[in-house]
Amino acid sequence: MTLPYSAPQPGLWAAVAMIAAIVLSSTAGEVLTAAAMKSIGDLDEIRAHSGLKGAIRAVLTCPLFFAGVTFLALSFFSLLFALNHMNLSLVAPASASLTLVTNAIAGKIFLKENVDRRRWTSAVLVCIGVYFLAH
């Protein structure tokens, strides 16, 4: 992908810091949102019992959900900031693919998910695949 105007590229460490900011805030957001949804329970069942309004209320009254959304917003703005300094063809695939691996690590540590060999293999394959597809 070529840009009509290409900004002067930042140094290696600045680029690493910008991508790390996107990846870390996005991982924190995903993990907090996932924890929020697990604490609420099966949304399909809530909707079957208390309707769509009940399901929306269950989500909107969960503080963890807002913590998650805050980090996701932070990751979005760090993506915008990085795009201002670097090319989309580097930032988008690098952050999207790295996030898959950091999420697998964070899911195992914080959400106590059973990340077995099957899921590790998948995280690595999808990570490389996303990089190839988006680059």
């Binding site: 993990v31 949304l43 208390s50 999420n103 099957r118 490389i128 695949g129």
Partner: protein
Amino acid sequence: MAHAKLLPRQQLILGLVAVCAPLGDACLSRGMTSLPAISLAHPSTLIAAVFTPWIAVGIALLLGFFASYLTALSWADLTYVLPATAFGNVIVALLARFCLHEPISMQRWAGIVLITVGVGFVAHGPSLTERPETQASSEPVLQQEQTR
């Protein structure tokens, strides 16, 4: 509580997660590139952009993505749902190839194969980590009437 096999309804939700995000992004991109350049000095033009058809459809699709993503996270692991999100890129690349006749480079085909194999790996495993049912749910949201 934990069930390895997904119900058809849950498979449909995962399908929506995969399809809505990339299609929403594509609509936003199409809508924004057709607009004249927007400068931060005139933020009102950004608000007007929200009401143009492509961008409105893009936002609706992304809202649909977020709703189905949250629903999926309520009954499946994060490490199970995320590969499904990535699979959406494969669907869009294939749509671009076969509907819009855009060429796909060897590197992109390799990406498509890797993502498909990776998603296949996860989809064969359980969708939710089995946990001993020790603690009650933090909120007394509902009584589990149906047993799975």
